[in-house]
Symmetry: C2
Subunit: 152 residues, 2 copies
DNA sequence: GTCGACTATATTCCACGGAAGATACTTCAA
DNA sequence: TTGAAGTATCTTCCGTGGAATATAGTCGAC
């Protein structure tokens, strides 16, 4: 157990994540016509009844302006609908349309299959479990500290 | 050791990486006036004598067109210079200017300090070492398979 | 009741990446 | 020698995200 080369670990982490995201995107686009980011938005919106633009922005650590435009595109595609929030007229609530839910249902097995191949496949069950708990810990420390959340 | 929730592990990995990249960017921008991506390009170019646009594109798994434009911006900032490749007139070689090398030298302690805080800090030495070896393994499996490399 | 501080989203401009196509160059088989 | 196949980069158009700003709405102190 020597001194870990942090720059190398960082590079490996970012390069792996970039290629994994691209690989998911290529497959989702080819088989279902949507990008990885769109899939993630649909999955998040579809998993709750009271999703707002701000909730998406916080979950994905992107700016609320960018999130609003991303929701515009999902709306234009017919997969998501905005509806007024009875509790707060400044915001609206997001929901999947029937087409959006059908697309999510169709794309999820593809998404999970590619993760089995590219994330679980190269690792032992023990190594995968440790990776999962380590990245969960790292995520919670930066989120709890409010680190890395864009401003606009 | 149960069945690992791959979608959750994927989400934690991507959300953590996004926030880490943003946190590095905020600090590098505030202290040195460059983005994380620009820093990574300078570091890669500065570490070799014969870097070409294609080499950068492969290393960072981005399209060569995008890489060329990124190099344009580093050139415009005065940190990188293109020079003809005597062995192949189709390509050119990239090098750091004096200003680019000074900037890299100044920014590297900041980069490494932020990695100590956000990557090493929350983990034991053993957990960090295992994370490093696991992401190195994952990276090499996708790169060896040519997965996730854009086309343009 | 009012008003200031704060919240929530949309819009605009710009940076940066993807994909496709254009152009220049290299290599090797015929 | 030549030409086809492949290589290397640049350019264009478009998608997507960041930051700043504008607008609308909420809430609590005074």
């Amino acid at each position: 157990m020597g001194v870990t080369d942090l720059a190398q670990a960082f590079s490996d982490l970012v390069r792996y994540e970039t290629r994994l995201y691209n690989a998911l995107g290529a497959r989702l686009k080819a088989e279902h016509g949507l990008s990885t980011g769109q899939y993630e938005f649909l999955r998040f919106i579809g998993g709750r009844d009271d999703c707002r633009v701000n909730d998406l922005a916080r979950e994905f650590a992107i700016a609320v302006g960018a999130t609003s435009k991303g929701v515009d595109r999902l709306e234009a595609a017919g997969w998501v609908a905005r509806r007024p929030n009875p509790e707060n007229r400044r915001s609206c609530l997001l929901g999947l349309t029937d087409a959006g839910r059908q697309l999510l249902d169709a794309a999820t097995p593809t998404f999970e299959d590619e993760l089995r191949i590219r994330l679980a496949g190269p690792l032992t069950a023990a190594a995968l479990d440790r990776l999962a708990s380590t990245v969960a810990r790292l995520r919670s420390t930066v989120e709890d500290a409010g680190i890395g959340q864009p401003t606009g």
